[in-house]
């Protein structure tokens, strides 16, 4: 078994120095496959929780917006932004202001945006069904359609959402898009929607 050897203090300092050279510990991100569109902008909010609320408000009014990842320059670690047609800026801003969730700022899309994961994995345990979206897993008892477990994730709202949702039936459980605040919460909402699609439709 290779037990390795701990880094010396000099090695660690060299690592930190290297990280500084990279730009104050922030990695340069290579562009994703998502194409840039000059007629699009992004709305930036105080936190992920406000993005989730804003998405609900705008989609309820029929706006074709997309929740995306922010460009590297404004990433802090747990972010979402709303991509929208630039020409509608004033209208959307007014709607969100009226809803009590004004954006912090609007930024024209000049670099490719990160696309949220859209792959779901389903696992059948016989009496139970599990759906995974990104790093979040939701499990339901098939007979009662009761949520029996929530696992995965790393943001602090995951244990909070789990204690609210476990034991509740699909359709009646508190929703992560209402009570969640992070990307993990958003992923759990996607898992819940996929579970509902498979079990309730």
């Amino acid at each position: 078994m290779n037990t390795g050897s701990p880094l010396s203090g000099i090695d660690r300092l060299q690592q930190i120095a290297l990280a500084f050279k990279r730009g104050l510990f922030r990695k340069k991100r290579k562009p994703s496959l998502e194409k840039t569109r000059e007629d699009l902008g992004i709305l930036v909010f105080e936190n992920t929780s406000e993005v989730i609320q804003a998405e609900r408000v705008l989609k309820a009014k029929g706006w074709k917006i997309r929740v995306m990842g922010p460009p590297p320059g404004i990433q802090s670690g747990c972010d979402l932004v709303i991509e929208f047609p630039l020409i509608e800026e004033l209208h959307l801003w007014r709607l969100l202001d009226q809803a009590g969730i004004p954006p912090l700022k609007m930024v024209p899309v000049t670099a490719p945006l990160l696309k949220p994961v859209d792959l779901f994995q389903t696992k059948d345990f016989g009496d139970y069904l599990m759906v995974r979206a990104a790093n979040m897993k939701l499990t339901v008892e098939k007979k009662s359609l009761r949520i029996v477990n929530v696992s995965g994730g790393g943001c602090p709202d995951v244990p909070y959402l789990a204690q609210m949702m476990v034991g509740k039936p699909l359709g009646e459980a508190p929703r992560p898009d209402t009570f969640g605040h992070t990307l993990c919460g958003y992923a759990l909402e996607l898992a819940l929607q996929e579970m509902e699609r498979q079990c309730l439709q």
Partner: protein, 289 residues
């Protein structure tokens, strides 16, 4: 002293730092009582149970209430940047915290100011921030699951939510993803990858795999990854080399799950109760190999 840093899903829970005990299935810290479901309380409970076999290491918790708004996490980050430099901690595990690169980097500076650098383990939200900061190499152990390993392997993703589809694709083997994570300097000194088969790896590749006992229901249960990180923390804290600790932790977590005989609806405390029996057995078998 061994310290666990994380959050509690209760917005009213104050910032507390102190010794942790487990009594009648509840954690006790700083005069507060905590139920054990999943998340950092499950990790802490697993550490305490493992220490019943390994001996008391002085398990310390640094906890705060946070339901995802990040307010509690920021308060805890602030406390640690001020107090870590004077803390006598030999093993430090970071867990459910709001991922924030700037605060992460301040924590790394505070650790650098400690008299002796502790062995550092990161899981959950803090592991996300560690990867995004480009400083994964500062850590001794990351404990990702398969989805989080794909995130570590994707050099562009700031969070597992943005892992690109071609990396998430099931045709990528765990070995491929481990290689890619290290290629982009996104792996800690060692990785313990949780999954159908647990993998212990470093930058040179897979060191050990653990595939039994296989308890399929554990994948669906909330908290099984937390208990694995907790057992690994206790073993590292007891002085064991990180790859051996990771391997023994993987075997112990599986055996504890086997003894609990779970369904996908089982709650994590049933597994935690079996940790001492499982760990004693695994250590005994390890000694005789």
């Amino acid at each position: 002293m061994l310290a666990i840093v994380g959050t509690v899903p209760d917005p009213e829970f104050p910032l507390v730092s102190g010794r942790v005990t487990l009594e009648n299935g509840n954690l006790s810290i700083g005069g507060k009582t905590l139920g054990v479901n999943r998340g950092t309380p499950a990790l802490l409970a697993a550490v305490v149970k493992a220490c019943e076999v390994l001996g008391d290491q002085g398990v310390m918790g640094c906890l705060v209430g946070d339901i995802g708004l990040g307010d509690g996490s920021r308060k805890l980050y602030g406390y640690l940047t001020e107090n870590l430099p004077t803390m006598a901690v030999h093993t430090l595990t970071f867990h459910y915290l709001q991922p924030d690169v700037d605060w992460h980097n301040r924590i790394v500076f505070a650790v650098e100011a400690m008299e002796k650098k502790p062995r550092m383990i990161a899981d959950a939200g803090f592991m996300y921030a560690a990867k995004m900061s480009g400083q994964a190499g500062v850590y001794d152990l990351f404990t990702p699951d398969a989805g989080e390993l794909a995130f570590l392997a994707d050099e562009t993703a700031p969070h597992p939510f943005y892992t690109r589809g071609f990396i998430l694709h099931e045709n990528n083997t765990v070995e491929d993803l481990i290689r890619r994570a290290y290629l982009h300097e996104n792996g800690a000194a060692y990785l313990l990858v949780k999954g159908m088969v647990d993998h212990v790896a470093d930058a040179n590749g897979v060191i050990a795999t653990v595939d039994g006992p296989a308890v399929a229901a554990m994948e669906a249960m909330g908290g099984t990854g937390d208990t694995l990180t907790g057992i690994a923390t206790a073993l590292v804290g007891a002085g064991m080399a990180v790859p051996r600790a990771a391997t023994i932790a993987a075997k112990t977590n599986r055996l504890a799950g086997f003894y609990a005989d779970p369904t996908p609806a089982t709650q994590i405390m049933e597994v935690i109760q079996e940790i001492p029996r499982a760990l004693a057995q695994v250590l005994n078998e390890d000694d005789t190999e």
